[in-house]
Amino acid sequence: MARGKAYVLQFTVLMCLATSTAVSVTAVALRPFQTLNAEFDRKRTVLNALGLAEAVRSAPDRPAVLELFDRRIRNILISPSGDVMKDTAADADASKGLPAYLLMKDTRPDAIAIPVYGRGLWSRLDGYLALESDLNTIRNLIFYKHGETPGLGGEIEKRWFSDNFKGKKIFDDRDRLVSVEVVRGQVKDVIHDSEAKLHAVDGISGATLTGRGVTHLLADILKKYEPFLDKHRSKGLNSL
C-alpha cells in the first residue's frame, strides 16, 4: 500500500534515530576495549619494527608483550631543534615534541623507531620506521593501520613490502637527507645507479598512488626529525 509523504518522512526520521542510537551506544560502550586493542597493536608494532618480532611471537599473552615493551623500550621526546627533551611516560603529549622509541640493549640504545603517518590513496596510514644506531640505515618499516584496498594498497602492511626497506639508507653519499622512494614498478627496472638504489624500493602493482603516499609521508616525517638526525648522526645513538 502506498503511504502519504508525511508518513514516509516520519518513518524515515524514526528509523534513522533508532539505528543511529543503536550504533552510537555500541560504539561508545565498546570504545574502552577498542582503545586498549589499538594501544596494544601500536606497542607491538614498535617492538616488531625494532626487530623483536621473534620475542613478540613467542610471548604467551598480551601482558608479556607489554612487559617486554616496558623493559626494552625507552620513550623520548625530541624538540624541534633536535635535542632530546626528556624521558617521558608512554602516553606523553606528542604536541610538545616529536616522539621516538629507543630499543635498549643493556644500557645503550641500539635502534630507534619513529612514528610515521600520512595520506595513502583512500586513508590515513600509520606505521613505525626503525633506524639502526647510525641513524641512516633502515631496520624496518611496518604499517599497522590503514584503510587501503586489500590486495592492492593494502599490501603495505605485508612482510614483503616491509622487507624491501631493510638496509636502505635515508642519507645519500653527500650527507643530504633524501629519504626513500617507493618507485613505480621494480627498482631494478627503473633505477640503474647503484647509489640511487639505496634510496628506492619496489612499488606495488596496482597501487602506484598508495606508494606515492608512502614516499611523501616518509619524506615529510623525516624532514621533521632532520635536526635530530643531523645532530646525533656523527656519534650515532650511543651519544644519547
Binding site: 503511504r3 514516509v8 518513518f11 524515515t12 528509523m15 539505528t19 543511529s20 543503536a22 550504533v23 555500541t26
Partner: protein, 219 residues
C-alpha cells in the same frame, strides 16, 4: 522467489519450514547455486579461524536483518523499502564490526574491510527484500539463519581445503606432520592466493550442483 512457503494454517515446524532450510543449505544455496556473495567467499577463506568469524558475523547480520525487516514489514513504506532495509543492515554490520574490533582484534584486522562489506553482500539484501519483506517473523528468522549457514558451510569447506593445502594447518594448528615436509612435501602456494579460492570454489560448485541435480531427478 517463486517458492515462498505459505505458512497459514500449518504446524509450527512443518514441511514448508523444512523445505526453507533445505533450499538455503542445498538446493538454492546462496553461494553455489545463486552465486551471490562471492567477493567475501574468495577473500576471507585463507584461514579457517577468520572464515568462521566472518560466517558468524554474516549469521548475526542476516538473522537479525531478516527479523527486523519482517517485524517492520507492515510499517516500512514501499517507496523507500530498499533504503530502509539497507539502513537496518548497515546498522547491524557496524555493530558486528564494533564487537569484533573490541573482542577479536587480530581477526578483525585480518578481515579488514570484509566485515564492512557485508552491507553490500547480495545475500543479505536479497533475503530481506525477497523473503523477510513479505513473510512473518519466525519463518524470516529461519530463512535468514539458514541462508547464513548455507553461505557458511560452503565457506568453511573452501577454507578447510585452502588452509590444509596452503598452510598445512587447520584453525592455525599444524596437522601435516613435519615428517611429510622432511620427505619433500610442500605447501601449495596458490592456495593462499585468490586463484586458489577460484579453483576450490569452482570444483565445489560443480560437485554440489551435480549431487543436487541427481537428488532432484530421484524425487
Amino acid at each position: 522467489m517463486s517458492n515462498e512457503p505459505q505458512t497459514q494454517h500449518k504446524p509450527r515446524f512443518g514441511r514448508t519450514e523444512k523445505k526453507l532450510i533445505k533450499d538455503a543449505l542445498w538446493d538454492q544455496n546462496p553461494i553455489s547455486v545463486q552465486i551471490l556473495g562471492i567477493c567475501s567467499a574468495l577473500a576471507v577463506t585463507v584461514m579457517m579461524t577468520t572464515t568462521a568469524v566472518m560466517c558468524a558475523a554474516v549469521l548475526f547480520v542476516l538473522t537479525f536483518s531478516n527479523m527486523i525487516v519482517s517485524a517492520l514489514r507492515k510499517w516500512i513504506p514501499p517507496q523507500i523499502r530498499i533504503i530502509a532495509e539497507i539502513t537496518i543492515i548497515a546498522a547491524l554490520v557496524i555493530i558486528a564490526d564494533q564487537f569484533l574490533k573490541a573482542f577479536l582484534f587480530d581477526i578483525s584486522k585480518q578481515l579488514s574491510i570484509f566485515v564492512g562489506l557485508i552491507i553490500t553482500n547480495c545475500i543479505v539484501l536479497g533475503r530481506a527484500e525477497g523473503f523477510a519483506n513479505s513473510n512473518p517473523v519466525v519463518p524470516s528468522i529461519l530463512d535468514g539463519a539458514s541462508s547464513a549457514l548455507g553461505y557458511g558451510w560452503i565457506l568453511m569447506t573452501v577454507s578447510f581445503i585452502r588452509e590444509l593445502l596452503g598452510s598445512g594447518t587447520l584453525f592455525g594448528f599444524h596437522v601435516i606432520p613435519q615428517a611429510a615436509y622432511d620427505a619433500g612435501y610442500e605447501n601449495m602456494g596458490i592456495m593462499v592466493l585468490a586463484p586458489g579460492a577460484f579453483f576450490v570454489l569452482g570444483i565445489l560448485i560443480w560437485i554440489q550442483r551435480t549431487l543436487s541435480e541427481r537428488g532432484g531427478k530421484k524425487r
